[in-house]
C-alpha cells in the first residue's frame, strides 16, 4: 500500500497546521473494521468550565458570576443532560451529541500537576508520567505497537505529517513523512497583545508604533481596501481551523489512505477578556465547532468508523481572575466525536465546585485520568494491546485502567 500524495491545492489548504497519519491498525481490520483515529491537540489550556458548563451544580453561579454560562442566559447554553450544558458557540457539536456521536469527559486531566504550558504540552503529547525530554509521542508508540513484531512497512511510512513541525504526539520510532505548507496564518491577536504589553513596559517607541499600526489597520479594514489587518480576524481563524481539520479528514477518508493522524490548534490561553459567551473564546470555540463539522462531512461514509479525540494540556482556574479571564488550572474537558462512539454522554465523576472541592482551592479537581480515556479508545477502537498501552504507550500507567465502553 502506498500513500497518495495530497494535491498541491490540498496542501495549501493545510496551511500551517500539523498533521500526521499512519497506516492501518491490522487487528481491527482483521475484524472487518477499518477504524480511523484523529487526535487534535488544543495548545494553550482550554477552559473546560466555559466549554461544558456544570449548570446543575448549585455552586456554579456563585463561582463564575456574570461569566457563568446558563440555560436561560442571554445566549443560553445548549443542554447536554440534566447537569451539563455546552457553550452556545458549538451547535454542531451539540447536534453530534444528540446523535450520540459525541462524548464529553469532564474534570479530566493528564497526570501533570504543575502549570507550565511547555511542560504540560510535553506531557500531554509524550504520554509520559512526568515532564522531561521525550523524543516520541504516545500515538507514534501506539502505532508502532500495532504492527506485529514492531516492524514497519518498509515500502511506506506509517506516519504522515503536513506542516512546518511534526507534533510530538506523533514523533517516534515509526517514521514520519512531512510536508511544509505554502502559506501560514499571521500572528494571533494574543501574540500581538502580549508584545504590546511588553513594549509598554520596556520600549515606548515600539509600543507607540504598534498601537498606531493597529489603529491604521482598523481604520482601513473596510471593504475595498487592500491593506491587511495586523492580526488574523475571527473569519481567518475559522477558515484556518476548518481547512486544517477538514483536510486531515479527507485523507483519513480515502479508502487506501492513512488511518491515524494528529493536528494541533493553538490559541486557548485566555488570561484576559476571555469572552466566554461572546468574544474571544466564543469565537475560537465557534471555529473549533466548524472544524468538527468539516471533519464529519469530509469523512463521508468513513465517519461511522471514526473517533476524534480532542485534548488540551490542562484546564484553567475555576474562578474568573481580575482581568475577566482565567489563569492556568488543572482539570478540564476532553472531547470525543465520531460515528464509532457510543455517544450522547457526559462522563464525569463530578468533584463539585465548593472551595473545599477545588484543587488547591483554585482549579477544577481532576477526577478522571485523561490516559484512561485515550487508552480506552486505543484499545477498543484501534485494538492496541493493553499491556503495551500500560508500558510503552503510557509508561507507568498500569493503575490507570482503559475506560471501557466508549466505542
Amino acid at each position: 500500500m502506498r500513500l497518495h500524495a495530497p494535491s498541491r491545492r490540498e496542501l495549501v489548504l493545510a496551511s500551517g497546521t500539523l498533521f500526521a497519519w499512519a497506516h492501518l491498525p491490522k487487528l481491527a481490520r482483521a475484524e472487518g473494521r477499518d477504524p480511523r483515529f484523529l487526535t487534535v491537540i488544543l495548545r494553550g489550556a482550554l477552559d473546560g468550565l466555559a466549554t461544558v458548563a456544570p449548570v446543575g451544580d448549585p455552586d456554579w453561579l456563585a463561582l463564575r458570576g456574570d461569566n457563568a454560562l446558563t440555560l436561560d442566559g442571554k445566549l443560553p447554553a445548549l443542554k447536554l443532560d440534566d447537569f451539563f450544558a455546552l457553550n452556545p458557540a458549538m451547535p454542531n457539536l451539540h447536534r453530534m451529541f444528540e446523535a450520540k456521536e459525541a462524548i464529553v469527559v469532564h474534570a479530566s486531566a493528564t497526570p501533570y500537576r504543575e502549570r507550565s504550558h511547555f511542560d504540560g504540552q510535553d506531557l500531554l503529547e509524550s504520554g509520559l508520567p512526568k515532564p522531561g525530554a521525550s523524543e516520541s509521542g504516545w500515538l507514534n508508540r501506539a502505532l508502532a505497537g500495532l504492527t506485529p513484531g514492531g516492524r514497519v512497512d518498509p515500502k511506506g511510512s506509517k506516519l504522515f505529517a503536513v506542516g512546518p513541525v511534526t507534533p510530538l504526539v506523533v514523533r517516534g520510532p515509526a517514521p514520519v513523512l512531512s510536508w511544509s505548507p505554502q502559506r501560514v496564518l499571521p500572528a494571533s491577536e494574543d501574540t500581538v497583545q502580549r508584545l504590546l504589553a511588553l513594549y509598554r513596559d520596556c520600549d515606548a517607541r515600539l509600543a507607540g508604533v504598534l498601537e498606531d499600526n493597529f489603529k491604521l489597520a482598523a481604520a482601513v479594514e473596510q471593504p475595498g481596501t487592500a491593506q491587511k489587518p495586523a492580526a488574523p480576524g475571527p473569519g481567518q481563524v475559522r477558515a484556518y481551523f476548518s481547512e486544517a481539520a477538514g483536510t486531515a479528514a479527507k485523507f483519513l477518508a480515502q479508502s487506501d489512505g492513512p488511518r491515524v493522524g494528529a493536528l494541533a490548534l493553538d490559541g486557548w490561553d485566555t488570561h484576559f477578556n476571555e469572552g466566554i459567551a461572546q468574544g474571544r473564546l466564543s469565537q475560537l470555540l465557534g471555529a473549533l465547532d466548524e472544524a468538527l463539522s468539516a471533519i464529519k462531512s469530509n469523512m463521508g461514509p468513513a465517519w461511522r468508523e471514526t473517533v476524534v479525540a480532542l485534548a488540551t494540556e490542562f484546564g484553567r482556574t475555576a474562578r474568573i481572575n481580575g482581568t475577566d479571564g482565567t489563569d492556568h488550572g488543572t482539570a478540564t474537558v476532553a472531547l470525543l466525536i465520531g460515528g464509532a462512539l457510543k455517544g450522547g454522554r457526559v462522563i464525569a465523576n463530578w468533584p463539585g465546585l465548593k472551595p473545599a472541592n477545588l484543587y488547591q482551592d483554585r482549579d477544577l479537581k481532576p477526577t478522571t485520568d485523561l490516559r484512561a480515556v485515550l487508552k480506552g479508545v486505543l484499545r477498543d477502537h484501534l485494538r492496541a494491546d493493553e499491556r503495551a498501552l500500560a508500558q510503552s504507550v503510557f509508561p507507568g500507567s498500569e493503575a490507570v485502567k482503559p475506560m471501557a465502553g466508549l466505542v
Binding site: 489550556a45 504550558h117 513541525v165 511534526t166 511544509s180 494571533s188 502580549r194 508584545l195 511588553l198
Partner: protein, 480 residues
C-alpha cells in the same frame, strides 16, 4: 548588568558585542567570549579567508549573464513558435498543435513541478549561499561587514538579476577586509555596477563611437561614485567634476552577453572613451585610457571626505543612528592613516570605547534581524530560502533590490513601521523550530540583556512557538 560605562568584559558586554557586531549569540557563545569580547571580534577578522564564500557551485557573473541571455533567447523563440502555431491552429483547427504547445510549456504528463526561471534559480542559489554564511557564522562580524559594503555599493536585481549575487562575491567579498581603493576599483569596474548605473553605453561626444553614433555622456556612475560611494553628498565637488569624471569613465563597459566566450565580462572600449586630459577636483588627469579612470578612483579612495563619509556610515550602521562624533573621527583617522585599510578600520570600530558605551538602541534592519531569528531558533535548514527572501520583501528590504543607489537606510525611521509585520514573520519562523527550549534560547540569545519583563513574557507564552516568537520580538532582540 547595565551596559553603561565601557564594559570591556563580562557576559553583558559579550552579548552586546555579539549583537552589535555579529548576527547575535547562539549556543554558549556569550559565555565563550565573556572574558574578552573585543578579542573574539578581532579574531573574527583575522580568520584566514574571512569574507570569502566557499560556493563552488555558483557561477561567475559573466557566466550567469551569458546563460541568462541564452535562456531568454530560447524563451522568446518558444513563444514565437507557439504564437506562430496558434495562428496556424486557428486557421486549420488542428488539435495536434495544441499538444505541441503543451510540450513547449512543459505541461506534459509526468513533468514535475516546474523549476523557477533561470534568473530566479541563480538568485535563489546566491541568496542561499549568502544566508547560510550568516546563519553558520560563529560571530558574523565579517559577514556583517560584507553586507554593509554590499549595501554601500549596491546594485539591483531589477536592473540585472543574473549578476547581483556574483557581484557581491567578486567585487565586495575579496576586499571587505582589504584596501578601500581596491574595493572601489573592483566595484566601479564590475559589469553589474556599470550596468546598474548606466555606464555601459556612456560614450564621449568626441570619441570615435560618439561621433559615429551621435551619442554622448551618461553621468550616472560618475555622480553616484562621488556622492554615494566616496566623498559623500555636498562634500565640495562641482557639476564640472561630475561631468569630467564621467568623461574619464567613458569606455568602461562590458562585453554584451551574447558574445559566447567572454560575454558579460568587463572591457575597456577605447572607441567609447572621451579623448584628452580631464580635471577632476582640481587635479589634472592625463589621457591614459583605462588608467585615467583608475587614477581618479585611487585619489577618491584616499580623499579625506571619503574617510569621513565611510567612518560616519560605518558608525551609523553598527552603533547608532546618530553616531558619536568621536567615533566617526577615530574611524576616519584610521582610514586616512592606513590608506584605507578596511581591516584596521573594522578593528578600530570594534575596539573603540564608544562602540561599547552607546545605548542599545539601534533597531536591527530587516535582513539582519531575520538572520538573527534563524540562528537563534536553529531553523536554517527548515526554512527554504524563498521564504526568507519573501520575509525580506514583506519587511520592505528585498535582497539585492534596493529602491535607489543609496541602498537601504540605516535609520530606525525606515524600519520601525515594519514591526507589526515582523510579528507575523517571527510567528512563522518560530513555528518551524522543533523542540527548541524557549528559556534556554533566551539565555543563549540574550543572557544578561533580557529584562525581567521579557523573561516573564517568554516564560508565560501559551506554547513554545509563541514563546520563541515573543523572544525574537522582544526589544532586547530587536535592538542592539
Amino acid at each position: 548588568m547595565s551596559a553603561k560605562s565601557g564594559l570591556s568584559s563580562g557576559k553583558a558586554a559579550a552579548a552586546l558585542g555579539l549583537h552589535r557586531f555579529g548576527f547575535g549569540p547562539v549556543g554558549d557563545a556569550i559565555a565563550a567570549v565573556a572574558t574578552d569580547p573585543r578579542g573574539a571580534l578581532l579574531a573574527d577578522v583575522e580568520r584566514p579567508g574571512a569574507g570569502r564564500l566557499d560556493a563552488p557551485n555558483l557561477m561567475s557573473s559573466s557566466e550567469a549573464a551569458r546563460q541568462v541571455f541564452d535562456f531568454r533567447a530560447e524563451r522568446r523563440a518558444e513563444q514565437k513558435l507557439a504564437s506562430r502555431q496558434q495562428k496556424q491552429a486557428t486557421a486549420s483547427g488542428e488539435a495536434e498543435v495544441a499538444s505541441q504547445m503543451a510540450k513547449l510549456s512543459g505541461a506534459e504528463s509526468g513533468t514535475p513541478a516546474q523549476k523557477p526561471p533561470l534568473p530566479q534559480q541563480i538568485i535563489l542559489s546566491e541568496a542561499k549561499a549568502r544566508f547560510d554564511a550568516a546563519a553558520n557564522a560563529e560571530i558574523g562580524l565579517v559577514e556583517r561587514l560584507v553586507w554593509f559594503w554590499s549595501n554601500h555599493f549596491c546594485v539591483s536585481a531589477d536592473k540585472d538579476a543574473a549578476m547581483v549575487g556574483a557581484y557581491e562575491r567578486e567585487a565586495i567579498r575579496p576586499h571587505a577586509l582589504g584596501r578601500f581603493a581596491d574595493l572601489l576599483q573592483a566595484v566601479e569596474s564590475h559589469p553589474a555596477m556599470l550596468l546598474y548605473l548606466d555606464n555601459v553605453q556612456s560614450m564621449g561626444a568626441d570619441s570615435i563611437a560618439g561621433i559615429n553614433q551621435d551619442k554622448g555622456l551618461n553621468e550616472n556612475l560618475a555622480r553616484e561614485t562621488l556622492e554615494l560611494h566616496t566623498l559623500g553628498v555636498r562634500s565640495g565637488y562641482s557639476q564640472a567634476d561630475v561631468t569630467n569624471f564621467a568623461k574619464v569613465l567613458t569606455g568602461w563597459t562590458w562585453l554584451r552577453p551574447e558574445e559566447p566566450v567572454h560575454g558579460g565580462e568587463f572591457v575597456f572600449v577605447r572607441r567609447f572613451h572621451e579623448p584628452g586630459n580631464q580635471v577632476v577636483l582640481g587635479k589634472r588627469y592625463a589621457e591614459g585610457g583605462l588608467d585615467q579612470g583608475r587614477a581618479v578612483l585611487a585619489d577618491l579612495a584616499r580623499h579625506p571626505a571619503t574617510a569621513q563619509h565611510i567612518g560616519e556610515k560605518l558608525a551609523r550602521h553598527f552603533v547608532a543612528d546618530d553616531p558619536p562624533p568621536s567615533l566617526v573621527t577615530k574611524l576616519a583617522k584610521v582610514f586616512l592613516d592606513t590608506d584605507g585599510d578596511l581591516k584596521q578600520v573594522a578593528k578600530t570600530l570594534v575596539t573603540a570605547e564608544e562602540s561599547w558605551t552607546a545605548p542599545r538602541q539601534k533597531l536591527k534592519p530587516p535582513a539582519e534581524w531575520i538572520a538573527g531569528v534563524i540562528r537563534l531558533t536553529g531553523t536554517a535548514a527548515d526554512i527554504p530560502i524563498g521564504r526568507i527572501m519573501n520575509a525580506q520583501v514583506a519587511l520592505g528590504a528585498p535582497l539585492w533590490r534596493p529602491p535607489a543607489p543609496n541602498g537601504y537606510s540605516d535609520n530606525e525611521a525606515a524600519w520601525v513601521d515594519g514591526i507589526a509585520r515582523r510579528i507575523d514573520i517571527a510567528t512563522e519562523f518560530a513555528g518551524r523550530a522543533s523542540r527548541a527550549e524557549p528559556l534556554e534560547l533566551l539565555e543563549s540569545g540574550l543572557g544578561p540583556l533580557a529584562s525581567p519583563q521579557t523573561r516573564e513574557t517568554v516564560a508565560r507564552a501559551e506554547s513554545r512557538s509563541q514563546a520563541l516568537a515573543l523572544l525574537v520580538m522582544a526589544p532586547e532582540f530587536l535592538r542592539r
